[in-house]
């Protein structure tokens, strides 16, 4: 295992300390692994988080116009309720707190428990669950769809709404609206190694890729041979578009890298994606290309679309300044 780390069991706290050192406007809470804003304003608080290994998610999205606090679990495993409660406390200015949860059973349970305990302390807490990964069939019976890169759009939309001074219900409504209009689909070309484990959890052949793999290496929909950028764009978009009808609408587009895929390839992919969308009469209002929601050093990508109306456009364009996303 070739990683720039020290003790594999300390990667999360050391990485968050490194982030805090690089960003003086952020505060790091030891042991509870919470990154929060130093200067708080009176507004609805936004908290997200989950397992680590998805950097810059989520700590990289803490700052003006996005999150108030991000709570980190160990690599790929959910943070415990006490950590989340700390994130809620850091974010609460009396206007209540919204939790943005990715749909994994561990996160649902831990955030849910934290919500109840915070409510016992009379903090008003609401939550939304992001489930944008169309690789998994939606289902109310099983855990259902995973939350992946689309979560970043939810941070942005809810964050802008909160910054505008909206109340908790309004912020939650904006987040729900974003979630309803977001779909994502990914593809992996290599596995990744959990620092504490030391060997890959799965292996892809020389010439093999996996369509629809999750950001923790959860099995996808199909293993296949390496594809060209235009084929990848076709396959991922097809799955998204058959799940949600974006035709004739304006969208925000995210071409996301999983960690080890160079920006050059993401731009080549974006070129293909935008060609296809144009051919389908889907107008790209704003494009984001880069590593926004990763899976350690996995090679691969995901594509996310969010259908926009005037409100979502305004919230998407609103200024934000965080370590991983700045909009002027």
């Amino acid at each position: 295992m070739k990683k720039i780390i020290n003790n594999p069991n300390n990667v999360v706290s050391e990485a968050l300390q490194g982030l805090a050192k690089a960003c003086p406007e952020l505060k790091y809470t030891e042991n509870l692994e919470v990154i929060s804003r130093k200067n708080k304003s009176k507004k609805v608080g936004l908290v997200s988080g989950g397992g680590s290994g998805h950097e810059p998610a989520h700590a990289g999205y803490v700052g003006e116009g996005m999150l108030d606090a991000a709570v980190a679990g160990n690599v790929f495993s959910s943070p415990s309720p006490d950590r989340i409660i700390k994130g809620i406390e850091e974010s609460n200015s009396g206007e209540g707190v919204l939790l943005i949860i990715k749909n994994y059973s561990g996160d649902i349970m831990n955030f849910g428990m934290a919500k109840e305990m915070a409510e016992m302390d009379d903090i008003r807490v609401e939550s939304v669950v992001v489930k944008d990964d169309v690789a998994v069939p939606d289902s109310t019976y099983s855990t259902g769809r995973r939350g992946i890169a689309g979560t970043v759009f939810v941070h942005k939309i809810a964050g802008a709404k909160a910054e505008k001074g909206a109340n908790l219900d309004e912020v939650k409504a904006a987040a729900e609206k974003a979630i309803a209009n977001i779909r994502s689909m990914g593809m992996a070309m290599s596995s990744c190694i959990l620092p504490a484990v030391g060997k890959p959890g799965f292996v892809l052949g020389e010439n093999e890729i996996e369509i629809g793999m999750g950001i923790h290496g959860e099995p996808g929909v199909q293993r296949t041979s390496v594809k060209t950028a235009s084929e990848v764009a076709d396959i991922l978009l097809a799955k998204i578009l058959e799940d949600y009808d974006y035709s004739g609408s304006e969208v925000a587009l995210m071409v996301n890298g999983l960690g080890a895929t160079p920006l050059m390839e993401l731009y080549i992919l974006n070129n293909e994606v935008e060609k296809i969308l144009a051919s389908k009469g889907i107008k790209v209002y704003r494009t984001f290309v880069g590593n926004y929601m990763t899976a350690l050093e996995m090679a691969g990508c995901s594509i996310t679309l969010m259908k926009l109306d005037d409100e979502l456009k305004e919230l998407l364009d609103a200024p934000c300044s965080t370590p991983a996303l700045i909009i002027k």
């Binding site: 679990g73 160990n74 790929f76 495993s77 959910s78 943070p79 415990s80 309720p81 006490d82 950590r83 059973s105 561990g106 649902i108 349970m109 831990n110 849910g112 428990m113 998994v136 019976y141 099983s142 855990t143 959990l194 484990v197 959890g201 999750g214 923790h216 959860e218 099995p219």
Partner: protein, 214 residues
């Protein structure tokens, strides 16, 4: 009259359970690696290690406070899915022990049932989903049954223990619905559920410990 467990007795049980879990590291890790992410044993083992460290404090507490404290520790130290589930379980159980000096036969049954209900509520899962519930649920059903039938405490704890173990074994042919195993193509069929196994360990040790008190 039957057994009466004090706060101190319960910490004795904690010691034994911790030892049982500690012994079975490689086996449980292998199970979670097959269908999950391989961390269940590290998670739960570190939780029990922490509980053992906390015994000096725990044994001084009322049962109500003791169970709440155990819940907090498990929640924060175990982490993952099982941490919060055990946390919820112990918080739920604490409620039924409010103002109690000791745990007697009926109380023990109520405690386990409260744990079952709390875990089902938190995890929004059912027996048959290939989880720790599939060891706990049959154990509770069996316990209620024994009390209804008026069986002796000695017979009861033996049957409850067997129900928990058999329940855990029954997860082998179940399909996972919750947790990571559900993303597997075969839904984990053929593999035992690690959380059910560790749940069975705890019930087994608890029942054996009670037996020594009879």
């Amino acid at each position: 009259m039957g057994f009466q467990l004090s706060s101190k007795d319960y910490t004795e049980y904690i010691k034994l359970a911790a030892a049982k879990i500690h012994e079975n590291g490689d086996y449980v890790t292998a199970l979670d690696s097959a269908t999950g992410d391989g961390d269940h044993w590290t998670n739960i083992n570190s939780g029990f290690e922490k509980l053992v460290e906390a015994i000096p404090e725990l044994e001084t507490l009322s049962l109500f406070e003791e169970f709440k404290k155990i819940g907090i520790i498990m929640m924060s130290v175990i982490g993952g899915s099982s941490g919060v589930l055990y946390g919820s379980a112990y918080m739920g159980a604490a409620k039924v022990l409010k103002d109690k000096e000791s745990i007697e036969n009926q109380d023990m049954c109520n405690v386990l049932e409260a744990m079952l209900n709390s875990i089902m509520a938190r995890g929004n899962a059912q027996p048959g989903f290939k989880t720790m519930l599939d060891s706990l649920h049959p154990a509770v059903e069996c316990y209620k049954d024994c009390i209804a039938k008026g069986l002796s405490e000695k017979e009861t704890v033996a049957l409850v223990k067997k129900a928990a173990i058999d329940g855990a074994q029954s997860t082998a042919n179940m399909e996972a619905v919750r947790g990571r195993a559900c993303y597997q193509a075969n839904k984990g069929v053929g593999n035992l559920d690690p959380g059910a196994i560790t749940m069975a360990y705890q019930i087994e040790v608890l029942m054996d410990y009670i037996a020594t008190k009879l």
